[in-house]
């Protein structure tokens, strides 16, 4: 049977495309793999995403409009925040971070909304809720924030900033986990460009972690010996407190006056920032 021109041409064109496809596939797959490895293409968790968004959004995300969808979702979350719709805020940030797991700021902002804003709102906004229940709800939101940022750390093991933020949540008022906070600051120091305040914070919280007092005192003293730029009132005050706790001989104590002495005298029960 003789084929018509159109049929012949269609088969020919498809054959060329198929052969080309076979030839370029290894090349293309290699490029995709390298790009994913070097972080140039995000590996979007497709199944997780498709359960979170509609089909059209899914297409936009895969089609290279990920950042635009993220912007839209961020605006949406901002709106929900102003109405204190915390569940919506949480869902939006989960979506944003699913789409852009490499965007550190979104992990930070999301966890901040949960551990700070939602937590405080749960605790204080509704006076009709019994105090114990409000406390528990507030704490639950904090723990959600912790879990959220931990997921971010899992996806971005290189980020010093996420550890720093997690540490901050740990020592925040009611969560009060100095050991965990110290641990996270230590992780942050391992990864990041050394920020001097993080070194001090590491020392402060280590000093409050039971069993690590001596280690912390030595660390803080090292900082002290680095010279003037480290000798901030908070460091001196902390060293003073440790000298008391560890019963350091008078001769080894630092000569500086305790900057908080006046406050302590006047308000013996006051809790100072790093106490």
């Amino acid at each position: 049977m003789k084929l018509g021109r159109i049929a012949r041409k269609t088969i020919g064109a498809l054959a060329i495309l198929l052969v080309f496809g076979l030839v370029k596939a290894p090349l293309e797959n290699g490029m995709t793999r390298r790009y994913v490895e070097s972080g140039l293409i995000a590996e979007v968790a497709a199944t997780e995403l498709s359960s979170a968004v509609g089909q059209s959004t899914m297409l936009a995300v895969l089609g290279g409009l990920r950042p635009l969808v993220a912007i839209y979702t961020t605006l949406h979350a901002f709106d929900a925040w102003s109405f204190r719709e915390w569940d919506t805020v949480e869902r939006d940030y989960r979506l944003i971070t699913t789409m852009m797991p490499e965007d550190i700021d979104s992990w930070v902002t999301g966890s901040w909304h949960m551990a700070y804003n939602a937590s405080a709102s749960a605790r204080y906004d509704d006076p009709s809720v019994p105090e114990a229940v409000a406390e528990k709800n507030g704490r639950d939101w904090m723990l959600k924030g912790v879990a959220f940022i931990k997921k971010g750390i899992q996806q971005n093991p290189e980020s010093a900033k996420l550890h720093e933020e997690l540490a901050r949540i740990y020592w925040k008022d009611k969560l009060d986990e100095p050991c965990l906070a110290a641990e996270e600051y230590q992780e942050s120091l391992k990864l990041g460009p050394t920020k001097t305040f993080i070194r001090r914070f590491y020392g402060y919280f280590l000093s409050k972690c039971p069993g690590h007092e001596r280690e912390a005192y030595d660390y803080l003293m090292d900082l002290y010996r680095e010279g003037k730029k480290q000798r901030l009132p908070s460091l001196i005050s902390r060293i003073k407190a440790m000298e008391e706790a560890l019963k350091i001989p008078q001769a080894e104590r630092i000569p500086d006056p305790d900057p908080d002495r006046e406050i302590r005298k006047e308000y013996p029960n006051a809790q100072l920032p790093f106490d």
Partner: protein, 308 residues
């Protein structure tokens, strides 16, 4: 026949038609460019400017780096959308339009090889997209620069108020600056252009056998959409249907024929600040060129003995 001899003395005895002439392609390219420009396509640039101006004035509670990042994401998102829509729509319209107006007859009745006609049209679309992208990039860079200056000033002020050491401030500002005007953003622009080139080549290929403009647009759009997730979907199907005849005869060939556009999505992360080197961009350009060459060749194969 004396007059005839006079006339043949004026025109050269052997027709001087080179097999392939970049000059002629350029004539067709510029004419296509003029055509598209006079179709008022550049009005989109005004829309773009308004959009970027809007995005650069959004002051949500963001970190300084996020403010800059958002402006970049919005601008490059708009540039991407423009480039794909334009690549599909303009390419789909051009050849059928020439045929309908019979302009195609007059062009092909001149000593113009069909390959040159196709390439001229394709390059015309690409030139238009390229020029539009460069203009948008310039506009956007201006906005980003001013945004960066204000944001940095604010950031410095607030950090100083917090009593941070000069060293820490410098480190912090450096992080903000990383999201500002960077040479690397040009690579993102190039990646957008490369993707649009492949999209335009696909559309041209479709339009050489399509029966209508609408059909071309629909098929090109489907290829574009499918080309973004077929590798993911194929993995799923192949897993589900492993070994089945459907998988072997339908899914696999489709995955082979349709281009994988994901590679070109590097734009997103380059904009986000992921470092990229010139070598990577070169391989990406090489891949795009390969696609354009093969699709143009198939388009020519279908077009060369097409009858009008």
């Amino acid at each position: 026949m004396s007059e005839s001899q006079v006339s043949s003395a004026e025109s050269p005895a052997i027709p001087r038609v080179p097999v392939f002439s970049p000059g002629r392609i350029w004539v067709l390219t510029t004419s296509t460019f003029t055509q598209l420009v006079r179709m008022k396509t550049f009005y989109f640039l005004i829309v773009f400017a308004i959009l970027v101006a809007g995005a650069s004035n959004l002051n949500l509670l963001y970190t300084s780096a996020q403010k800059l990042r958002m402006l970049k994401d919005a601008s490059f998102g708009a540039m991407s959308i423009f480039s794909w829509l334009f690549a599909i729509a303009a390419t789909a319209v051009l050849i059928p339009r020439d045929l309908e107006d019979r302009t195609l007859y007059t062009i092909l009745a001149k000593p113009v090889p069909r390959l040159e006609y196709l390439l001229g049209k394709l390059f015309g679309v690409l030139l238009t997209i390229g020029v539009a992208l460069v203009v948008m990039q310039i506009l956007f860079t201006g906005f980003l620069f001013f945004r960066e200056v204000t944001v940095l000033a604010e950031e410095r002020q607030s950090l100083e108020a917090q009593g941070m050491s000069a060293e820490d401030i410098r480190a912090q500002l450096e992080l903000v600056r990383a999201q500002g005007v960077q040479w690397q953003l040009i690579y993102a622009l190039i990646a957008i252009f490369l993707k649009a080139s492949v999209v335009a080549a696909v559309t041209m290929l479709v339009s050489t056998f399509a029966s209508s403009t609408l059909f071309t647009m629909i098929v090109a759009t489907i290829v574009f959409v499918v080309g973004h997730f077929h590798k993911l979907a194929a993995g799923y199907w192949m897993h589900e249907l492993s070994g089945s005849l459907v998988a072997k005869l339908v899914v696999k060939p489709i995955v082979m024929i349709i281009p994988d556009f994901r590679v070109f999505n590097v734009t997103e992360n380059i904009v986000g600040g992921t470092p990229v080197d010139a070598g990577t961009m070169l391989t990406l350009a090489g891949l795009a060129l390969l696609y354009v060459a093969v699709y143009s060749a198939v388009a020519l194969y279908l077009f060369i003995d097409k009858e009008f």
